[in-house]
Structure formats: C-alpha cells, structure tokens
Amino acid sequence: MTLETFIQQLMNGISLGSLYALIAIGYTMVYGILRLINFAHSDIFMVGAYFAFFLVAIFRLPWGVSAILAIILTALVGMIVDRAAYRPVRNAPRISALITAVGVSFFLENLGLVTVGARPKAFQRPDIMARVIPIGPAAVSGVSIWVPILSLALLALLLFIVYRTKVGMAMRSVSTDIETTRLMGVDVDRVISYTFAIGSALAAAGGIMWACKYPQINPLMGIYPGWKAFTAAVVGGIGNITGAMLGGFLIGLVEIMTVAVLPGLSGYRDGIIFTLLLVFLLLRPTGILGEPLKEKV
C-alpha cells in the first residue's frame, strides 16, 4: 500500500469510526440505564437522514438549518418511541422490552418502505462535503475531514452534558441505581426521556453525515451501521460512554483496513465485524473499558 492510499484509508476509517461512535453512544446510554438493547436505534439513525433529505429536497431549507431541524425532530421521535413503546413495558420482564424494541425497529423500517418506498434516494450533500482536499500526497474527500471533526465536537458536547450538567448527573445517577435515584426525588422517567433524546440526536447527526458520506438513502440503511455500532458499544464495554467512542473508532478502522489490506475479503466485510464481536465476547466479554455487570444478590 502506498502512503497515499494509506492516508486515504486511514481518514476513511476514522470518519467511518466516528459515525459508529456517534451511534454507539445511544445504544450504550440506553443500555446503561435500562439494560435494554434499543434495536430501534439503528432506524432512528435512518429517520434522521430522511428528515434532512426532505427538509432540503422538499422544503428547500438551507443545509445547516435542515440538519439542525432534522436532529431536533429525530430527538423528538426518540422520545416518542420511549414514551409510547418502552415506558409501558418498563416493569415487565426484560425479554418483553427487548421484543418491543425489535417490534419498533421493524415498524420503523417497514413504515419507511411503505411510505417512501424501497428505492434508494439520492441525498444532496453540501459542497464542502463533496470537495476534495489534499493532505500531503493524498487527496482526501471533504467528508473524511469534516465528519470526524463534527463528530468529535458533538462527542465533546456530549461529555460536557453528561459530566458537567445537572441532567448529566441525573443520568449517571439513574444508570447506577434507578430506584435510589427515584427515592431522591428525581423524575426518572424524564431523565430517561432526555437520554433517548440525546441518543437519538446523536444518531440523527450520524445519519445525516452518513448520508453525506454514502449519498444514497433507503429505509433499511440503518440496519448495518446500527449493528456495527452496537458491536462497537459491546467491544468498548457496554454502558461506558468513552468505551463506546473507542469501540466505534476501532470498528471503523478495522472494517476499512481489513478490506484495504486484503481486497479479496471485501465481500466479507460485514461478516468480519461480527466475527470480531464473537471473538471479543469469548476473550474479553466485558469489553475494553467495561467492568463486569454484577447483579445485586
């Protein structure tokens, strides 16, 4: 591999990884609090991309405004999903909540298929994303530069919210002990609602940037990025926000680099990530940063 392609692939891996990181946050935060794998999260990601698409293509709004509006709308969708589907099964056996999540995921996907159709739509990305920028000997596309920068900014904002604000403190407290937090007078349901909003907003940002990177969107576009991001959350240590970020970058780099080094395996790239997951579960089930989840006896 020449230095040129190496730099290109590295940037490519980092930008893909930063998107996985953005999505992984939503999984890991919800899991940390509710011990629920929010299967619908990958479809929230898709919803975010579609909101942006429609705002730009139909309402002709400027690009930045569309993106921000799409993020806000998606956050609302996340809160609605929590309120309508997950809250009613909060006290049910855990398997009921998981099944509900699978149901919501299938609902969003098929609702998408029914309403906007299965045919991919071309996503109009802003010019700065399409422009090619030279880095040393390599020409790197604007997406590969801007996506990691924007993602890192969002991740920094998230860390600020979680560790420096009152809402963030409530979230951390709920994830440590939901009952005690409730006894302290915190409105736990509202905190969970905010968690869904934040996770969904990040997923929407991820979805929009994903659509800039791969400018074809369809109602099933969330499935693979979603599962790989969940894999990233597990690899990083589920429930751990920093771990999810690390895991995201790791998965993105592994995915791009395996194919770059061994082009013969390109058909297997999705399989490789899931194999990595199984190997990780076998060798280090708690992830890179995770501590074993001890149930209270």
Binding site: R35, I37, A85, P88, V89, A92, P93, R94, I95, S96, A97, L98, I99, T100, V102, G103, V104, F106, F107, E109, N110, L111, L113, V114, A118, W227, F230, T231, V234, I238, G267, Y268, D270, G271, F274, T275, L277, L278, V279, L281, L282, P285, T286, P292, L293, E295, V297
Partner: protein, 362 residues
C-alpha cells in the same frame, strides 16, 4: 406409573388420528391448502424449539434464521440432483464432495437430520461465547451469527452459488414429512420442558441467581436449550428448502426470525401448545394478509397494493401484544392430557363415580 402409560396411549392415538386426517387431506385437498399446512408445520418445528430458548429459558435469541440457513443449505446440497448441480453452478464449479453425489429420495430424512446437526453445531459455536456472561449478549451474538451466515452464503460461491442460490431442489417435503417433524419437535420439546432439565431452564428464566445457588449449572442448561433449538431450526430449514424447491441467502434473513418471534409471542412465551397453534395460524394469516398488499378494486375505486404493509401490521401487533397482552394467547398454559381428562371428567358418569367413592370412604 399408570398415568404415564395412559398418556402415552392417548398421544399415540392422537398421532394416528392426525396421520389418518393427513392421508385424507393429501388425497382430497388442493395444492394451496396443503402448502399452507406444510408451511405451518415447518413454522411449528422452528417455533417450538425457539420458544424453548426465549420462552422456557428466558434467553433472548435472534438466532433461528441462521440455524435455518445452515440446515437449509446442508439439506439442499445433499439432495440436489447431480445434473441440477452442474446446471446451477455455471460460473464456478461446486466444490468436492458435493459435486460427486446426491442423496436419493429415500435418504431425505437423513439429509434433513444432517441439516439439524449443522444447526446444532452452529448453536454450539454461538452459545459458547454468548453464555459465558450474564446479560443480553445472546441477542447481538445470534444476530451477528445470522449475518455471518448471510455473508458466507453470498460469497462462498463454490458451496452456496452465492446470491443466485439453488433451483430445482426436489420437493420431498410432503405433508407426512412436515407434520412428522412437527410432531417429533413438539413431543421432544415438551418432554424437555416438563423434565428436570426443563425445570432448571424455567428456574433460570425466573431467577438466574437463585437457580445457580440451588445447584443448576446455568451455562450448561442454557446451552442444552440453545443447541436443541439450533437442531430443530436446522431441520425446519431443510424442510423449507425442499418445500419451496429453491434456496438463496435472502430466504433466511432477519425477517424469518421476526416471523418466528411473532409466533411464539402471540402463542405465549413459554407455551408450547401456543406455539403449535399460532405456527399454523401465522402461516394462514400471512397468506390471508397478502390481500392488504395486493391492489384492491371496489367498483370504480382502485386502491393500489402496498408492499410491506403486512410487516407493518405484524410489527404493530407485536408491540401492542407486549404492551397490552404480554402473556399471549396461552400464557404459560400447556394443553396436557391431565387437563383434557380433567375437563372431560365433568361428565355425569365420572361425577357419580366420584360421589360413590366419597360415600364409601367416609
């Protein structure tokens, strides 16, 4: 024990009646109802075993599509006629040893069984990393496994013929095979569920920590349930490809698992009887619901068909079930001979006999 023998006789009698009815149906009914019935029977095979993991043991698996794929490809490779194999693999040759033999019709049972064995091996492979730790890792590991199988099926062209798959698989899976497998799966799974192993599985479902403290080997017990479900998933996959006579990677996507999930949830997580009934019900329902996807003409009004509408209906159904009717149709209730007999005992003769006994003993 007397009661056990009575149950055995009743069960055998019921099976005899069932196969007589099948013989009648096979000779009198048309292609379409028989096809729905066979599909239903195959759903039952996969669903009762899936319920053993999700309902009885309480572990959330999303694996059946992967196991069905393993069984489906195995059976297809074994029974596809040699001539057809040459015809199908026109880009790259089929690999040895499958290019050198083909099972004749009378070995169909063996081919399906080997499909089941492959499914079980797959379950073993996923189960070991997933069950080492408490938590929901099974869901993601089984999903990942399904995707790995999908990727392999698309890429291992010398073995699977890639996205094109195989055509012209002999249609050996008649009503007797399908219902025979459904009967065996139902009996075996309900035997397990009612045995000491099944009690250990239910104990894990209710309280894993307490089960372990009472001496239940949690890892081994989960594995037993999971590998059993892998086996019957493989069997169901083998039967399915011989029913529809084609196979391709898209046959066993996550949608298949979703169908099975609907079946076991609707029937009642943990109720084997429920899965049997809703297995057939689902096969019928998804045929009937084709209506909503087909264009409708009411006089001059034309409503275009909406593909995908069925899945919207099913997913809403699943969510509503979980919120409002979590126990499903049967909860954890099982139709058992004891129950049937106790219902029948309401008849007058038995009441009188009981009254006599009471007066005698007092």
């Amino acid at each position: 024990m007397e009661r056990r023998r009575l149950h055995l006789v009743l069960t055998l009698a019921l099976i005899a009646v069932l196969f007589l009815a099948l013989w009648w149906a096979d000779t009198h009914l048309g292609e379409f109802p028989l096809r729905v019935a066979r599909t239903g029977a195959i759903y039952v095979v996969a669903a009762v075993a899936y319920n053993l993991v999700n309902g009885i043991t309480g572990q959330f698996s999303l694996g059946p599509n992967g196991f069905m794929a393993l069984g489906g490809y195995t059976t297809a490779l074994l029974i596809l006629p040699l001539q057809q194999k040459q015809f199908v693999w026109f880009l790259e040759p089929l690999m040895w040893p499958f290019n050198s033999f083909s099972f004749p019709g009378y070995l169909f049972g063996l081919a399906v069984l080997l499909g089941g064995v492959m499914g079980a091996l797959g379950a073993l492979l996923v189960g070991i990393p997933s069950f080492r730790l408490r938590g929901d890792y099974l869901a993601i590991a089984t999903f990942g496994f399904g995707e790995i199988i999908f990727v392999l099926a698309n890429n291992l062209i010398p073995l699977t013929n890639g996205p094109l798959g195989m055509k012209g698989i002999p249609e050996y899976a008649n009503v007797y095979w399908c219902f025979g497998a459904a009967v065996v799966a139902t009996l075996v799974v309900s035997n397990i569920a009612n045995s000491s192993y099944g009690r250990a599985m239910k104990a894990i479902r209710d309280d894993e920590i307490a089960a372990e403290a009472m001496g239940v080997n949690v890892f081994r017990t989960k594995m037993l349930a999971f590998v059993t479900s892998g086996f019957f998933g493989g069997v169901a996959g083998g039967l399915l490809v011989s029913l529809i006579t084609t196979i391709s990677p898209t046959l066993f996507t996550f949608g298949m698992t979703f169908n099975l999930l609907i079946i076991i949830v609707l029937g009642g997580l943990g109720s084997i009887t429920g899965s049997v009934i809703t297995g057939f019900g689902f096969a019928l329902m998804s045929e009937l619901l084709r209506v909503v996807e087909a264009p409708i003409n009411i006089g001059p009004i034309h409503i275009p068909g909406v593909p995908g509408m069925r899945m919207v209906v099913f997913s809403v159904l699943l969510i509503l079930l979980m919120i409002f009717y979590r126990r499903g149709l049967f909860g954890q209730f099982e139709l058992s001979w004891d129950w049937v007999l106790s219902v029948l005992r309401v008849t007058r003769g038995v009441r009188e006999w009981k009254r006599e006994r009471k007066t005698e003993s007092s």
